[in-house]
Amino acid sequence: MVAARLESLPVIALLAAFGLFLCSLTNALSRATLSAPVLIYWLGLLIIALPIFFRLSSTRPSYRERLGLILLLGLALYCVKLVHDSPLYTFPDEFVHAFNAENIERYDHLYHFNPAIPTTPYYPGLEGATSALMMLTGMSSYGAGILLVGAARLTFMAALFFLFARLSGSARGAGLGVAIYTGTSNFLFWGAQFSYESLSLPLMVVVLMSFVEREASPPAGRKAWAVPIVLGILAIAITHHLTSYALAAIFIALAVLYRVMKIEKPNPWPFALLATGVAVGWLLIAARSTVGYLFPVLEEAVEAIIKTASGESAPRTLFHQASTTAETVASTPLAARAVALLAVAVLGVLTLIGLRQVWRRERGKPLVLLFCAAAVVFFAALTLRFAPAAWETGNRAAGFLFIGLAFVGIYGAAEVLTGGPNLLRRRLLLTGALGVILVGGAISGWPWDIQLQRPMRATAEGREIESEPLALAEWAGDRLDGSRFAAPGSDSRALLEPGGQIALAGQGPDIEHIVDEPQLAPWQLPLLERHHLPFVVADRRLNSEDNLRGQYFTVPGQYGDDYREKGVVHKFSRIPVGRVWHSGRLVLFNLRDRP
C-alpha cells in the first residue's frame, strides 16, 4: 500500500519538482560564483528521472499514466535547460535564431540576412512560428521561443510514445523506449535550445507516428493520417535542412523495403517522392547557401575520418576541449568519464539483447528494420568522436539514430524485466541502467565545465550589472541602429541578439585573424572596408572566440582571465581611429572616425 502510494503520479511529480529545484539551486550558486556542489546537480537530475523510470518499469500503470509520466519527464528535463540559462538565451545557436525572429518582427518578412549562419534565414520555420507568438502576445523572442520549443518538446515525447507503442504493441515498452531516448547526448541541452532542429525533430516524430498509425488503420481510415504526414513533410522542409534530408531518406528506405519485402500495404513512395521533392526543391530554389554551409563540414568530416584511420593525424581525445578553443578549461573528471562510457556500454548491452529479440519477433516490419539499422549505425557513428573534425557530425547524427536505438532498447529492457525471479530487483537494475544512460548522455553531450550556468547578469547593491559583452551589446542596441561590426565569436553573438546589430565573426570572411592577431596585416583594413565593417570589437579575453563561454563575467582564477597580447587593442589605436567604447578588456573602434 505504502509502496503503491510512493509510486503514484503526484508523489513522482513532487519528486520531479524537488529534483528540478536542486538543479536550479546549484545553477544559482554557480551564477553567484559560490562553489556549487556539482554532485547536487546530478542528484537533482536523478531525483527527477529515477522515480519515473522505476514506475515505467512496472506493469501496473495504465496507458494514460505512462503517457503522463513521460510528459512529466519531458517537461521536467526541459525545465532543467530553462533553469540553466534563464532569462536570456545563452547557447550559441540561440542568438542566431533569436536574431532571425526579431528581424521577422522588425521587417514583417522572412529571409533577412544573418551574418553568423547565413543559411538560417532560408529555413525560417522556427522563427516564423515564433514570430506568430511574439506578435500576438507582445513577448520577446526569448519568451515566445521557450514556449514554442516547450510545446514541441512535449509533442515529441507524446508522439515518440505513440510511435513506439504502436510498433512494439506495448505501452510499457513505449514508456521505457522514450526513457531510453532521454539518454541521447543532445537531449538535455542541445536539443532543447531555441534552434531549428528543436522544432523539426518533434515534427519528424509526429510524421513517423502518423505513418505507423496510418499503416495500422483500416483502408478507409488511411487518408486521414495522410494530412499530418503531408503537412509535416512540408513544414520540415522549410524548417531544417538535415531533418528534411533524414525524413526523405527514411521514406525512400521504407519505399524500397516495402517493395523488397512485398508488404501488402500501400507502398509509401508518394511520401518519399514528396519528402525528396520538397527537400531538394527548397534547397535549390530558396536555400542554395546550404550547399556551401553543409558540404564543407561533411567534406572535412570525411577527410578527418580518413586521416585519423590512416594514422596521418592523431585521434581526438575524448572529453577534451576542441583544439581551436584557446582558453584552458577544466577537463571532465575521471568518474564522470566513467559514467559516460558506462552509459555507452549499457546501451550496447541493451542493443545486443534487443536486436536478437526484435529480429525474432518484428523483422516483418520495415520501419522496425530501419530502426535496427539506425541502432547499429549509432555505434558506428560513435567512432566519429575520435576524428577531430568529424565528432560534431557524429554527435548531430545521434539525435536521429537514437530513435532507432531507443526502440531496439525496448526489447533489451523487456528481457531484463522478464529474465529472472525477483521482479523488484530487476526493476531496480533497469532503473539504475536508465539513470546511467541519462547522466552519461548529459555528460558526453555538453562540456563539463559549463554544465552549470555562469553569471552574465548579477546584482550589486540591489541593482543589476552585466558582463562586458552583454553590456556592449545592449549599449549598441540602444545607441547604434543596425550598425556593422567585426567581432570575436562570442561578442558577435551578443551583438546579434540582444544587440540587434550586424556582427560578422569567424573565418568567412576572415574576421577571426583581424580581431585575434596583435599585428595589423596589410590585408586587414581593405577586407573590413570591402565588407563595410566600420566597427571593430577588440577583446583581450582569450575566450572571446569561444561561443559557449565568452559571454560571461570574468571570474579571476576560474575562467575568462587568460588574455591575448595587448596588440589586439593597440593595433587599431595606432592607426589612429576613434575609440567609441572602452570597458577594460573590450574596446570598440570606429574605423570611419579618424583625423
Partner: protein
C-alpha cells in the same frame, strides 16, 4: 457547423482569441488568448477535418492537434510572407481564425451527422485531496525553481568594471555624448576629463555612480582650424587620480571613410 458543438466552440474561440490577442494591451491576457490560438485550435480543426467521424483517442487527438498547429504556424509564416503586408499581428490574427473556421467547416461537411452526446465517456479518475495537495506543492516548487533561475544574484567573485563611451549627439556632430557606466559591485567615484582639440584645459566632471548606473554628459564641440576637432574623454578612478583608467576618442565631425 450547426449541431457540431466542438466545432462551433473552436471557431468562436479562435475568433475571440484572435481579437483579444490583437487588441488587448495587457501581455498576460494576450498570452492566455494567443497560446490556444497558435498551439492548439488550428491543429484541432485540421485534425477534425481530416478524421471527420472517425474515432481518435483523446491523447492522440491532443498530440496531433498541437503537432499540426506547429505545422500550421510554420506554413502560415511562409504563406503570409508572400503578401506585401507580410507577417504582422493583424495578418496572424486573421490567418489563424480563417484556417480554423475553414477546417471546422470542412469537418462539419465531412462528418456523418451532428455529433451526439457521447454515452460512453472514458472515465478519468477523480483526484483525491491528497493528490491535489501534492501536485499543488509540486507546481509551487517547480515555479520556485524557475523563478530562482530568472533572478540575477550577487556574484562577488565576478570581476566588475566601468565602461566609458562617446558618440556624436546629433547628425551635425557638433555635440558629443560621453557616457560612464558603473558595472562594479560597489558605488564608485570617478573623474571624467574631456579635452577638445588643442585646448589644453580639460573639462572635468566628478562622477559618482551606484552599481549598474549610467551617467551621460553632452559636450559642445567647436570646429577646429582644420575643420575637425579631436575629442578625448579620459576616466580616472577617484582613488587613483593620476592613473588613466579608460579613454575614448573621436574626431568630430567624423570622416566617414576608411583609413
Amino acid at each position: 457547423m450547426r449541431g457540431h458543438r466542438d466545432l462551433e466552440w473552436v471557431s468562436v474561440a479562435a475568433v475571440a482569441c484572435a481579437v483579444i490577442a490583437a487588441l488587448v494591451p495587457l501581455e498576460l491576457i494576450r498570452l492566455v488568448a494567443a497560446l490556444p490560438l497558435t498551439l492548439f485550435l488550428p491543429g484541432y480543426a485540421l485534425v477534425a477535418a481530416a478524421f471527420a467521424s472517425r474515432e481518435l483517442a483523446p491523447p492522440k487527438r491532443l498530440t496531433l492537434s498541437v503537432g499540426t498547429s506547429l505545422m500550421v504556424l510554420v506554413l502560415g509564416a511562409f504563406v503570409l510572407n508572400v503578401f506585401p503586408f507580410g507577417l504582422t499581428t493583424a495578418s496572424w490574427a486573421v490567418l489563424l481564425p480563417m484556417v480554423v473556421i475553414a477546417a471546422c467547416r470542412a469537418a462539419a461537411i465531412r462528418r456523418d451527422r451532428p455529433a451526439r452526446r457521447r454515452s460512453r465517456r472514458s472515465p478519468l479518475p477523480r483526484p483525491q485531496p491528497g493528490s491535489i495537495a501534492l501536485v499543488s506543492i509540486a507546481l509551487l516548487i517547480g515555479a520556485g525553481a524557475l523563478a530562482l533561475a530568472q533572478k540575477p544574484l550577487p556574484a562577488e567573485d565576478a570581476e566588475g568594471y566601468a565602461a566609458l563611451w562617446m558618440l556624436p549627439a546629433d547628425a551635425e556632430e557638433e555635440t558629443a555624448v560621453v557616457g560612464v557606466i558603473n558595472n562594479e559591485h560597489d558605488p564608485a567615484s570617478y573623474r571624467l576629463k574631456v579635452r577638445l582639440g588643442e585646448d589644453k584645459r580639460a573639462r572635468t566632471y566628478r562622477v559618482e555612480l551606484d552599481p549598474g548606473e549610467e551617467r551621460t554628459y553632452e559636450i559642445g564641440v567647436a570646429r577646429g582650424a582644420s575643420g575637425r576637432t579631436h575629442v578625448v574623454a579620459s576616466l580616472y578612478r577617484e582613488e587613483q587620480p593620476t592613473h588613466l583608467y579608460r579613454r575614448v576618442t573621436s574626431w568630430l565631425p567624423r570622416q566617414k571613410t576608411f583609413p
